[in-house]
Amino acid sequence: MTDTTQYTRQDWQSDQEVRWCPGCGDYTILASLQNFMADFGVDRENVVFVSGIGCASRFPYYMNTYGMHGIHGRAPAIASGLAVARPDLSVWVVTGDGDALSIGGNHIIHSMRRNINIKVLLFNNQIYGLTKGQYSPTSERGKKTKSSPWGVIDYPFNPVSLAIGAEATFVARTIDMDRPHTQEILTAAYQHQGSAFVEIYQNCNVFNDKAFIALTGKEERDVNRIVLEQDKPVVFGPDDAMGVVIEHGEARIVEVADVGIDAIHVHDATVENAGAAFALSRLSHGPTGPTPIGIFRSVDRSTYASDLQQQIHDAQAARGPGDLALLIAGAGTWEVSD
């Protein structure tokens, strides 16, 4: 990051025509990201976008950075290798709910626990877009899709809960339509040392339109968005009349007037113990009612790459930089002469 370079959003646009369906939420996220990058003055050549397969995963093509459009589900693995080898880069993963949580579930949870310096942006549209409309691991029960004409019988994942259960150090949620909030979250994710997991509710207007209407609709959104703010009591709704308490490990929605503001949970994403973050994640299972957005968890921990770098440093301090001839000879040698 240099403060000398001044970028505009255009600098971050690649020469490739953007090819999502008109009206797709992906466009908005792309704009937020390009804006964020430009505002932040990151250098383009030091940024890499890695993705899997899916509509969301076409993202790298549209960014004037380095990029790899990988294979389905494997972006976190590819990005992990890159980020560990090259801690100097800013490595981002763009993925979908199928890509990240279905086929890629294992790589996601492992990259989280390892605290590898990658920023995972999960565009959750609760559907398989690219393959034209099958249900995903975040689709709600009962949903009728191409592959579930009788209704989905899987219980969905709650991506935020899953990430917290997998020891993620940074977990957040935002919404495609809310560009300022998205940029705020992107900034925090970028600044976090280690893995960041960002769920972005993204509207697929072709196969799952209005899935997030409770959070984006003019009428509903004010009632349903629970915006988590650091060190603030968790209140929401018109006049902040509603609030969240956590009792016996369980987060519940109450009327602030009923319990008094002091009983309301004060949000602190930075506490080491993940209990409160998890409790908050259970407030909603799918965005059909009051749903928290914002940063659930953000704790400091050494990253995989920095620990590895440290081991290399320590080893070199202890043994010198390494001489292969000596190493080989060290295993015990004998001489044969003519």
Binding site: D15, P60, D88, G332, W334
Partner: protein
């Protein structure tokens, strides 16, 4: 060792000794130490460790038997020996399992203390073979090793069950005496290894000496043997296993390429030791990454390659199967990547600790769509070093994933290796792209006209930002393209790029007698057995030609001419005819497959007799 032995010394050229016992008896260790001492003494040698898939099957049972065979010789040898001359049997199960392999009239050194009723029954004996005359055809030396070890260890401080653990050193001492191995090498090693546990160190030393001295002093061992130093090309030697040499080969290649190593792997027998070895060398800047599975491992390695590291991933057959989708991505993105496959017995979990060569066709064809890539093979433990450097050279120069085939036999067995002068390794570095190759925009798929390789522009390089991926790429620009003609063109370009490597690898060297009309052609670990078999046939006055392949894809340019020159072509393989099928399809020759799938290497005698059959037919 002040006292001179009062026994006869017989000079012999070679001897094969097999240490066999329970998995817990430390036979791999005894074998390895004997090998090391012989290596340092100056014998040529070859080893064959053989252990069960279980960590420790119940003590005393047949499945729990673990063995280590080593052949030492005063001349260049190629295999651990077809049949051991001496069998050390630490318990009845070890005897039962290994006796069938022993050479006629061979020697058996028995730990008689273990031949109690419980162990006999467990091994399936109804009577005690030491006593029932069933071993009359052999020379049997029954030694109460446990008793003697206990006595020796008395007073070293070690107490209880631990005491008996030293009995492998007792056996080692005995063998050392019998074959005139100096014990000081082993003593040094004990100090180095057990220095931090003085009582264990003392116990092992005592047991080792006791074993040696028992040989020296008892009547039982009337004769000992001497295997002279072998005449080997001058140089500095060390003893290496295949996995070790391969790991060092990766480090050497990285040095020669001036790249950092990124090795991502998921543990799997028999490849894990490569990970273990590499993970020790942080001071060389080697990054190892134990991934959550094989798919993540190859993905991470590919990511590191994208970042300008030498991305390497190692595994065995089941893991290679899992990696295939990602290898296909590496083919499409045209990034350098080394994939090591240490083959083992299959299919499925198969015979995890046994050897086989049955992954060649998967390496060739085991990817969807047209995804050709180079294949390099390893033919002996020491050979793994240079084979690896060669595989990396190709990967970097041609911007391609390369599969390097080793196998369980090579991986775990050892041989003396003349350490090459590392400064003579070729410079295999390739320059990263730093400036655009086109005034308009950087063209990530603009190729080198000769190698057809695309440029390697790594993140961090200003101005060369570009995107790659698994969708078909447009020629030159690398943009996504679904155009029919472009797909045809790119498919052919990827194919030609690999095919052209044939111009850049050595032609095969044929080891032939004039007028030979039988050619034997092999690849991989059967090198030693084939060469030894051929020597035997030649020693009988017959004419044979022999070719051993390092490059399996593409084939060396002269291979077609050579194989067509011989009316009969024999292809011995530890599979059902992989190379054989490739030769038939490429050259339309009616080659003869000699297939063996027993989970163990060819014996020289097997090659010999199959060749004799052919010659005499």
């Amino acid at each position: 060792m002040s006292e001179a032995p009062t026994t006869d010394i017989t000079d012999i050229h070679a001897v094969a000794i097999r240490f066999a016992g329970d998995s817990g008896d430390g036979m791999q260790l005894a074998g390895t130490r004997f090998t090391e001492a012989s290596a340092i003494f100056g014998n040529d040698l070859a080893t064959f460790p053989n252990f069960p898939a279980e960590i420790r099957a119940p003590a005393g049972t047949l499945p729990g038997v673990s063995s280590f065979q080593v052949q030492i010789a005063d001349r260049d040898i190629l295999t651990p020996g077809d049949q051991p001359d001496v069998l050390v049997a630490m318990n009845p199960a070890a005897l039962m399992a290994n006796l069938p392999d022993l050479a006629p009239a061979g020697t058996i050194v028995i730990n008689s203390d273990a031949f109690d009723e419980r162990n006999l029954t467990r091994a399936g004996y109804t009577t005690n073979p030491i006593e029932d005359g069933s071993l009359n055809a052999y020379r049997v030396l029954a030694v109460p090793m446990e008793e003697m070890t206990k006595k020796a260890v008395e007073g070293t401080g070690l107490k209880g069950r631990g005491v008996l653990r030293s009995k492998n050193f007792f056996a080692l001492g005995l063998m050392g005496w019998m074959f005139g191995r100096p014990i000081d090498t082993t003593l040094e090693w004990i100090t180095k290894y057990y220095g931090k546990e003085p009582d264990v160190q003392a116990a092992n030393e005592a047991a080792l000496r006791a074993g040696y001295n028992v040989g020296l002093t008892t009547e039982m061992f009337r004769s000992t043997y001497r295997v002279q130093r072998a005449k080997m090309p001058p140089g500095t030697y060390t003893n290496v296993t295949g996995n070790q040499a391969l790991a060092w080969g990766i480090m050497a290649a990285a040095q020669a390429a001036r790249l950092p190593v990124f090795y991502a792997s998921y543990p799997i027998t028999p490849a894990s030791d490569i990970l273990h070895e590499l993970s020790r060398h942080r001071n060389f800047g080697v990054r190892t990454f134990q991934a959550e599975d094989e798919i993540a491992a190859v993905g991470a390695a590919l990511g590191a390659s994208f970042g300008g590291h030498l991305g390497v991933t190692g595994t065995s057959g089941p893991g290679l199967a899992l990696k295939s989708e990602t290898i296909s991505l590496a083919v499409m993105t045209e990034l350098p990547l080394l994939i090591v496959d240490v083959q083992r017995g299959g299919p499925s979990t198969g015979l995890p600790t046994k050897t086989e060569q049955a992954d060649l066709l998967m390496a060739m064809y085991g990817r969807h769509g047209e995804a050709p890539l180079p294949i390099v093979s390893v033919s002996s433990p020491a050979d793994a070093f240079l084979a690896t450097v060669e595989a990396v050279r190709i990967a970097l120069k041609y911007m391609t994933p390369v599969i390097l085939l080793s196998d369980g036999y090579i991986a775990t067995s050892a041989e003396p290796w003349r350490i090459p002068d590392l400064s003579t390794l070729p410079d295999i570095s390739v320059p990263f792209a730093t400036v655009s190759n086109d005034p308009e925009r950087f063209l990530p798929y603009l190729r080198d006209p000769q190698t057809l390789a695309r440029p390697w522009a790594v993140p961090g390089t200003p101005g060369l930002q570009h995107r790659i991926g698994g969708l078909e790429k447009e020629d030159r620009t690398g943009n996504v393209s679904y155009t029919p003609a472009n797909h045809q063109k790119m498919t052919l370009l990827r194919e030609q790029k690999i095919a052209r490597i044939a111009d850049d690898i050595p032609e095969v060297v044929i080891d032939t007698d004039a007028d030979a009309d039988v050619l034997v052609i092999g690849w991989g670990s059967s090198f030693g057995a084939i060469l030894a078999g051929v020597r035997r046939v030649r020693a009988k006055g017959h004419k044979v030609a022999r070719v051993h392949l390092r490059h399996l894809n593409p084939f060396p340019k002269n291979l077609g001419d050579i194989v067509k020159r011989y009316p009969r072509v024999l292809v011995p393989e530890l599979n059902r005819g992989h190379l054989w099928r490739l030769l038939r399809a490429d050259f339309l020759i009616d080659a003869i497959s000699y297939s063996k799938v027993e989970g163990r290497p060819f014996k020289a005698a097997e090659i010999e007799s199959r060749l004799m059959e052919l010659i005499e037919s």
